[in-house]
Amino acid sequence: MPSHALTIAGRVIRQLIRDRRTMVLIILVPLVMMGLIGASFPDESVLDYIAPAMIATLALFFSFLLTGISFLRERSQGTLERLMASPVTRLDVVVGYLFGFFLFALAQTSIIIFFTIYVLGANFMGELWQIFIFQTVIIAGAVTLGIFTSTFARNEFQMVQFIPLIITPQIFMAGILWPVEQMPEYLQWLSKIMPLTYGVEGLRDIMLAGANLLDVGFELAVLIGFTIVTSILAATVLRRGAS
């Protein structure tokens, strides 16, 4: 464990908690979204099918955006420069952010899951702890992708532009709304290189078919591989603009 990672994680958490409005939005927004989705699909089986995909997507979306913007601000307010001048390593920073955002993303995930089960009345199989572990891997990839992407944005406006570029195509091509097999072949290929595809696939297997983590081992491996690659990329470009 990099020695300063926990210190950085603690700071990330404190920062978010002190920003009350963001805290409220983190909890409220996914509930509103799930509520709307639940209300617009009167047929329960459709909700059952859509819900796992939404859980994976919201985790990707929020973790990516929150990390990206936090990191962007670390850069623009000059604290990253201070960190880079200190004994902290780049790995400390990446791992610190990972731990810091896990807490929020997992809290959000639990809220969404309990809301869909108990309020919207979706039917789920699969064990809760396995859902959480799988979800953790999706979040890890989203956090490191967020750090990496934020190096290419100079301000919040630019960071938000990365959503239609990086997140939206994944939503359309991950088989959330219609099966991947019904898409043109070249889009199917594109969908195969998108991490969300594996997140949705794996979470559906667990939640709809009661699969365990071993059954979704392939999806899990792809997501872990994605996280490792983006962590390395994030650590490599971390210093950009720090001096």
Partner: protein, 252 residues
């Protein structure tokens, strides 16, 4: 001949250059700063003061030439020896003044809770921010942020302090307090390198250099620099202008 590390100067810059594309921010600059003094970097906007400080911190690597800090080449190993205060107060705006200082105290290895608590309190009292310690940085005035930023650089009591315009935005009374404290630090053996535009700061330094266009145009104690103008009434401001014009004549 290998000198003892502890006997080497605090800072040794040997013919160092750094450029941002075609802009030569630091141009074949050489400098030696002995230990235990306050050393001023004076110069107009764009003279290369910030760039030089970033080279000393290790944030930038010289394109040529070499830099040593307390007898060692700058690296991650020398990072804990340095207290760095960037030109822009780089703080976490949602966090309180105290949380900011505490964070940097941890990062610089003050892991013992009691010891850290005491040092954080000491430094916040020093910059007279103890009564406002719980306020978010975003609710502080510019000068207060400057003070918190200085506290973050001082909290681990490093032997070498690199402060980029630390007195900007401070009221006159606090300036005096700061300089009293800087003098106490050098008395305890620390070395301070301070960039500034004001001749008031310059007069407080034990030694200083005038910089322009990435090079040192003159150096010495405040008195030596004033005497070089050969006018008995000369101020440091006069001395600075004198050396700039001298440089212009030699270029012409």
């Amino acid at each position: 001949m290998a000198q003892e590390k502890s006997a080497r100067p605090a800072v040794e810059v040997d013919n160092a250059s750094f450029n941002y594309r075609e802009i030569k921010a630091v141009d074949r600059l050489s400098l030696q700063v002995p230990r235990g003094i306050s050393f001023g970097l004076l110069g107009p906007n764009g003279a290369g003061k910030t760039t030089l400080i970033k080279l000393l911190v290790g944030l930038l690597k010289p394109k040529s030439g070499s830099i040593r800090i307390l007898g060692e080449a700058t690296s991650r190993k020398t990072a804990h020896l340095i207290g760095y205060m960037p030109q822009l107060h780089s703080l976490y705006s949602e966090l309180s003044a105290m949380q900011n200082v505490d964070f940097f105290a941890r990062i610089y290895g003050l892991s013992d809770k009691k010891e850290r608590g005491q040092k954080v309190e000491d430094v916040l009292r020093l910059v007279e921010m103890w009564p406002r310690r719980k306020d978010s940085v975003m609710n502080l005035s510019g000068g207060m942020r400057q003070r918190v930023s200085l506290a973050c650089a001082l909290v681990h009591r490093p032997p070498l302090l690199l402060l980029d315009e630390p007195t900007v935005g401070l009221d006159p009374e606090l300036r005096v307090t700061f300089w009293d404290y800087f003098t106490r630090l050098t008395g305890e053996g620390a070395t301070l390198i301070i960039s500034s535009h004001t001749m008031d700061d310059a007069a407080h330094c034990d030694s200083l250099v005038f910089m322009r266009a990435g090079t040192v145009i003159a150096g010495g104690t405040p008195d030596e620099l004033k005497q070089a103008t050969a006018k008995p009434e000369a101020t440091l401001e006069d001395a600075f202008l004198y050396f700039i014009h001298l440089g212009d004549k030699q270029h012409a």
